[in-house]
Structures are given as structure tokens and as C-alpha cells.
Amino acid sequence: MGPFIKQLKFNFKRLYLRNRGYQIGTLLMPVAFYALFTKIMVKGSGPEMMMYSKTYIASMVIYSVLINALFGVAQFLQEDRRVQLVQNMEMTPAGTSSYYLSISVLMAGANLVSAILIQLVAILENGVDLTAVMVIETAVLAVLGTLPIMLVGIAYSYLKSPELLGALSNVTVFPLAMVSGLWWPISIMPKWLRQIGELTPTYISKHILDSQLLNKSISHNDMMGLIVWLLITGAVVGLAVIRDKGGLRFDVQQTTKTEKNI
């Protein structure tokens, strides 16, 4: 437990507690967007607004997770590899398992906090009717139902260039947020764009959270969609890891091998 707790404290302080940019981008911005879009930008009847306030919770939670994955976790992992922190860990007896486990726990924790915070704002500002149990269940679902999105962030972290990662993250987050209906309802988009949006992992995760918040059961389509995206993003991460390990890795040393032609 020793190395894991040390890693947890170490990574919590440097990646989250002391990182104002991260706090603003991942936590405060989605909360601010929620308040803005539900209070100021949208007008409607009482029941319509209440429905909108509820479903917009899911939108902003998923948006927060997306930012956490591509601007948070992806950049943290890439930077730690670039400065050889990961390589140095690999050369120690405790290895990198505590490091990666602590990052995963902190990643999930950040998504949990974000989900709870947005729901609290919804309750306090918009009078959305959510019990404590529902808030926690929604938060837990926000962590589990967004695993494919987090895996995308992990896959992106294997990009060598920080500039390329930044560009790719921007090109992914904003179009994905728009097309999957995180910022405005997907129903207002043209049919062809709606069809694309409904296939995205962000839309599927949002739909799962909507079901939870509206006390509906999660559809089979959404579960299948989540599993398919989990397999796809898991495979991409696997390939990225293999490709990365093929260059530099801590490996079993070879005894006499058949000499290759050089």
C-alpha cells in the first residue's frame, strides 16, 4: 500500500490540487456552462425548463469528462513520459503499477466530483428534484459510463508531440461536444448529423445518464453501444501500448539469441 498511497498524494497535489488551469477547465467551466445555459440562455415553460435542467446535467457532466480525458489525463500522461518520470518508475522494484493505479483513481475521482458538483448546482439553482442516493448513483454511473472517453484520453497520451496532442484534443473535444448534443439538443441538427452524433461515445454516455436522471431504465442499445466503444477504445489503447513498448521498454533480457542479419 505504501507506494500507492505515496503516488496518490503526490499525483493529487501536482496534477489536481495545485493545477488551477485544470480546476477551471474541468470543474468550474462545465458548472458555469450549466448555470449559463439553464438560467440565462434558454426560456420555456416550467415543466419544459425542469426537464431541460435535468437533462443538461448529463450534458455538462459528459463535457467535463471529455475535457478531463483529453486536456487533463492525456496531457498528464504524455508529459510524465516525456520527462522520463514513467521510465524512472519502471526501473524501480515497485514499478509503474502504483503510478497508473493512482492516476486512474484520481481520474475517476475528478469525474465523480464534477458530476456531484453539477448536480448540486442543479438542485440549488434550478430546484431540480434529486435525492442524495440519485446524486451518488448518477455520479458513479458518470464514472463507469464514460470509460470509453477516458480510454480515448489514454490513447492520445501516447502521441509523442505535445503540439500534436493539443491540436488533436481541440479538434476532438469541440466537434464531439457539438455533434453529440452536449451543448445544444441533438434534435435541432440536420438528420444526417443527428445520425452521426447518435453513434458517438459521448452521446451514448449522455443518454445513459439521461435515463438515470429521468428514472428510466438504460436501453439495450445504449449498453451495446457502450460495450462496442469500450472494445474499440480498449483495442486502440492496447495498440498504442504495444507500439510504445516496441521502442523502449523494461524487458526480460535475452540470453544468446540467433544472430540476426544486420
Binding site: K13, R14, G95, L248, Q253, T258, E259, I262
Partner: protein
């Protein structure tokens, strides 16, 4: 009988189609300081990485054993410390925090405060890693390398960025580690430092060892130097002396370049009463190294 900390047999390594190590054979004895020198691109860092297991198994042939094992188990990792060329400039992390988390990765680390005091890091232990100088960061990297109390220590260009005093203190500490039984493999472009601290030196050129041995053994290979003295005797008398390659005269001062200063000195004995202020400068590791690289 000397125990081998590291035993390498016919190690070959390539980056793609480009061979970098071309059949390296080496044994590093337990408790010694082994100095690895060579020009840029000779393969020094690649050799270090291969020993530490940081290269893909697909790219190497031959065998590398560390303490008799071809596999770097966790137990062996616990015995190894390394100071690689790059320093870890993590953001929003203090020196103390960084050393503390590295220490937690080992089974029986030295107390962090003890390492901070021994290496005199106290004045900046609470500063961010990004807020200290290059030389200070190098010392922190060294602290991280020794905090696990390694038996085998790899130092890759350890004194880059350190000032003269820091470098002197660093080598004193390394010497102390050696006296405690630590085996050390060090690469450096400061050849004079390697010549002073290393028990044995290996000169790696173009992926192969050109020479390996103690400085005395290596200097036998090329025992040249210069002999300088004051005399009124004409320089033509010295031209036929053994191993003389050149003579310069400046006023009363004669300088003889020799391929073998011992032989030339012996032949000067008959003239000794007519010579004064005799000084002999033997070849250094630097000149030996440059001679070998020029030959390549």
C-alpha cells in the same frame, strides 16, 4: 575471485537497420568504478540502456547478465540506481516531494532527510523542481539515484551543469560510495575526471570497445608525452634518441615530443649534467582518446 556485477557477451544492438553496438564484450567487477568514454554517437548511452534493460528485446542479440541473472527481477531493480542524462523537470513538485515518492518505490530506502543533508540540498529542498538551476537539478537526480541504496549505480554524464565545487563534492561522494562497496559505471565527457576516479576505463568507438583496462594499462598502449628541459646543448644531438618524434627550441628551453617518454628519458642520462629544470608530461586520457578517435 572477483564477482561480476555485469557480464556482457557479444552484445549487438540496432536502431532499425542502423547498427549501434557491434559486438560488445565487457565485465564490470563488483565494487569497482568503471569509466565509459567515447565520442558522440559511439553507443555509450545505448550500452547503458541495454544493461539496465531499457531497450526492446527485439533489437538486441548477445547476452547481458546483471548479478548473474539475465532477467531484471524486482530484487535486482532494488539493487540498481541510475542517473540518466535528462533531468526530471516535473511541474508543481518540490525537491523533497519528488525524492519522497522515489524513495517509496524501493524496499529499504535511505531516509529522505538524510539524503538531503548529505548532498546539501537543504537550501532548495522546498523549491519546485522547475525553479532550481540545472546544476542543482542534476544533484537532485543523483539523490534520486542513490536513495534506494543501490549496489550497482549507473551515472550517465553526471556532472553536466555542475560548477567546479559541486563537481568536486560529487566525485568525493562517489568515491565514498565505492568504499562502501557500490559498483559504479559512469560515462562522462570530462575525461580528466574519469581518469582520476575510475578503476578501469573502457573506450567505446563506433559501437565496439577499442580498449579496456586500468589507466596504467591503457597508457602502456600509448606512453608518449613531452620532455622539457633547459640546456645549452644543440638540439641536433637529441634527434636520434629513441622514440623522439619532434623537437622544439625556444631560447634555452628544449621540448622533446616522444612516443615513449620512459625510453627517451633513459637515453638522456648521459647528458644529465648539462640539463636542468627537467619536466615530463605524459599523455592524458584525453590525448589517448583523441589519438584513438583520430585513427578511426
Amino acid at each position: 575471485m572477483t564477482t561480476q556485477a555485469v557480464a556482457i557477451k557479444n552484445l549487438k544492438f540496432s536502431y532499425g537497420d542502423k547498427p549501434v553496438l557491434k559486438g560488445v564484450n565487457l565485465e564490470i567487477h563488483e565494487g569497482e568504478i568503471f569509466g565509459l568514454v567515447g565520442p558522440n554517437g559511439a553507443g555509450k548511452t545505448t550500452l547503458l540502456n541495454s544493461i539496465m534493460g531499457l531497450t526492446s528485446a527485439d533489437q538486441i542479440t548477445g547476452s547481458v547478465e546483471v548479478y548473474g541473472s539475465t532477467r531484471i527481477s524486482n530484487q535486482i531493480k532494488n539493487m540498481i540506481g541510475s542517473m540518466l542524462q535528462g533531468d526530471i523537470r516535473l511541474t508543481r513538485v518540490t525537491v523533497r516531494e519528488y525524492l519522497s515518492v522515489i524513495a517509496s518505490q524501493y524496499y529499504d530506502p535511505k531516509p529522505v532527510e538524510a539524503v538531503i543533508n548529505e548532498l546539501k540540498l537543504g537550501s532548495f529542498a522546498n523549491k519546485w523542481l522547475t525553479g532550481i538551476s540545472g546544476g542543482q537539478l542534476r544533484r537532485v537526480t543523483f539523490a534520486a539515484a542513490i536513495i534506494g541504496q543501490p549496489k550497482l549505480l549507473f551515472l550517465d554524464e553526471p556532472t553536466v551543469g555542475m560548477d567546479v565545487d559541486a563537481r568536486r563534492e560529487f566525485w568525493d561522494y562517489v568515491d565514498n560510495l565505492k568504499m562502501q562497496g557500490t559498483t559504479i559505471m559512469v560515462t562522462s565527457h570530462y575525461l580528466a575526471e574519469i581518469q582520476t576516479v575510475a578503476d578501469r576505463i573502457g573506450i567505446l568507438i563506433d559501437g565496439k570497445f577499442e580498449s579496456v583496462g586500468t589507466w596504467n594499462e591503457l597508457s602502456q598502449v600509448d606512453s608518449g608525452g613531452t620532455i622539457e628541459f633547459t640546456t645549452e646543448i644543440s638540439t641536433s644531438i637529441f634527434e636520434d634518441l629513441p622514440a623522439v618524434t619532434g623537437i622544439q627550441r625556444s631560447g634555452m628551453i628544449t621540448t622533446i615530443n616522444s612516443e615513449n617518454t620512459d625510453d627517451t628519458l633513459k637515453s638522456l642520462v648521459p647528458f644529465i649534467e648539462k640539463l636542468s629544470e627537467i619536466t615530463v608530461q605524459r599523455k592524458s586520457l584525453e590525448s589517448l582518446f583523441m589519438g584513438l578517435t583520430e585513427r578511426e
